[in-house]
Symmetry: none
Subunit: 191 residues, 4 copies
């Protein structure tokens, strides 16, 4: 039942905004009563957090790419693989990750904390790549963070939400992200 409730909660969010997701709705959709809902979760946020948690486990896969060697020879390939993998995972867990970000952005501590932990290793991994590729770079962390932020937001962005959406495709966007990483890793900052 617990599992079933989680699934249905996600389904409902996929369709409409999660702002007005009610316990009654979820329970009904899962074919059960609100009382049963409260056996497993303390409130709507609680189910969502459980979903986010579960989705996060898949995010671990991205670290594999970061654990490999990124040399000037395979740089383009690695960057490409990294960005594609990341985008892939987001596509699979778009709903959950968007919730995670929205809640965190709205200052929800539980989700904030969780996102922090969940992204730290990735950001640190990227920082290291930048530092290795551009030893003279003064603040690789900030640079990595900026591009990572862009990547994450664009991954989660509803395409309707992008300016001039008509002229832009997911493919072009991903390419642009890759190019910027390459710029940073190969050419490095200006001075």
């Amino acid at each position: 039942m617990r599992k079933r409730i989680m699934e249905k909660a996600l389904e409902l969010i996929r369709d409409s905004s999660y702002k007005d997701l009610t316990v009654a709705d979820v329970a009904y959709e899962a074919g059960t009563s609100t009382s049963t809902f409260y056996v497993y979760f303390s409130d709507i946020e609680d189910v969502l957090f459980a979903c986010v948690r579960e989705a996060d486990q898949d995010l671990g896969r991205i670290k594999d790419v970061l654990n490999q060697e990124w040399s000037s020879d395979n740089m383009a390939a690695m960057v490409s693989e990294f960005v594609d993998s990341y985008m892939n995972i987001w596509e699979q867990h778009a709903v959950e990750l968007r919730i995670r970000n929205q809640e965190a952005d709205q200052g929800n501590l539980r989700f904030l904390q969780f996102r922090l932990e969940s992204t730290r290793e990735i950001i640190e991994g990227l920082e290291k790549k930048v530092a290795e590729a551009q030893p003279h770079c003064k603040n690789p962390l900030s640079l990595a963070l900026v591009l990572f932020t862009a990547m994450e937001r664009l991954a989660g962005a509803n395409f309707r939400a992008l300016a001039g959406a008509t002229r832009i495709t997911r493919k072009k966007l991903n390419d642009a992200i890759k190019e910027l990483w390459m710029m940073l890793l190969v050419k490095g900052p200006c001075d």
Copy 2:
């Protein structure tokens, strides 16, 4: 009274999440009754939209920087001025802009539409700058969009919300953003 209600609504959001902002709260804070609230606004979203609208007018200032010539001589200065101006405006209207983005991200059409219009000119301006500086660049729009997205998100980011927040300062972050713009405008993409 209308003005007063808007102000108090913003104040209340500054303190806590706007998700549970109620008409009664706002009315009370503004020292009036809910009935009066309804004289001016149709619901909470309505006040917020009015606030966002108002804040947006200041955003027009950023276009001045984009209307100037960005040549290789003054590039660093212009980029710096652009980023600083943008960050400045965000600081002044953090609450409103954050609401705008959150609502848009959650798929609220009114806000989505509004953000689209509000950012289009800026993004197109940036696209033109990239295209001018790097005539061979294949998709200046996507590149501009990526960096603009990063900039905007980091502007609105609560610092608590940033990974490894302790090691990062607003200054470093802004510098990183500037460096990335410079990289793009001066060195250009890899091939």
Copy 3:
């Protein structure tokens, strides 16, 4: 409406135990909705407290009897008047005073506090009467308190609740209370 809600709440309690008095019941009986109930009271306890408060104002009358002179000449008359008055007030506000005592007995601080204040003057008045009538009496306060407690409890006692109820009448009980006060005030404690 406020007044109406209070009245109906009392009526409902008169009929059945107040333990399972619900907001919905009261609202329904008062011909209104629960929302209206919450405009005036925060919960059931709150209405009851308001009722108790109101009833308490009548209790002030009892002090008139205590403010008169109780001499050996009129002692019997004064004691009789005091007990009768007290019993009278209880009869008029049986429901409210019983609630006050039950809540206080169950440790409800608000009611405890209120009862304390409400009875203090009476008890102190009685203490003074005992001390005047029996100057050698060592602890007039305790003696007065014991009889006052008995009086109050018997006033509020449902007659069903009294042992051997069949043989006892309200009249006999009141007489017994008067006799005990007389014993204390006229003859005094044993040594």
Copy 4:
């Protein structure tokens, strides 16, 4: 398990009001499930009644004092022993006896009946003592009942609940009760 549930129910009441004691709470505290609770008891009232019943058995001891001869020679000693014994038993079973009285006061028939039976013999015993000591006394039953009521209420009273609590000690109170019994038994009513 049955025993364990009873114990834990009492413990929980000791801490907070029994009005919001739930089956789930008791079961949890007893380290078992609600289903098991229902194997032994039909509801919360049922456990409480079982507890009260058990506590009542100790109350039988008080009758020993009443079965002895109370003559003018040993009157003070007997009264003292009676009051002390009674207070002692109350101290030991404060929780149970308070529940008994509260439920009875609220009109719960089961508890009302039980209290009636449980106190009848004592009250009749006291009536007989008064009648023996004061043969001319017109209604010894009422007089005995009044003082017995006082005694019982003060025994169960939380000291916080007593007016002017600061100036009164348990000792003084017990002494006052004894004095009143002595007054009644030795000097008798006024005419």
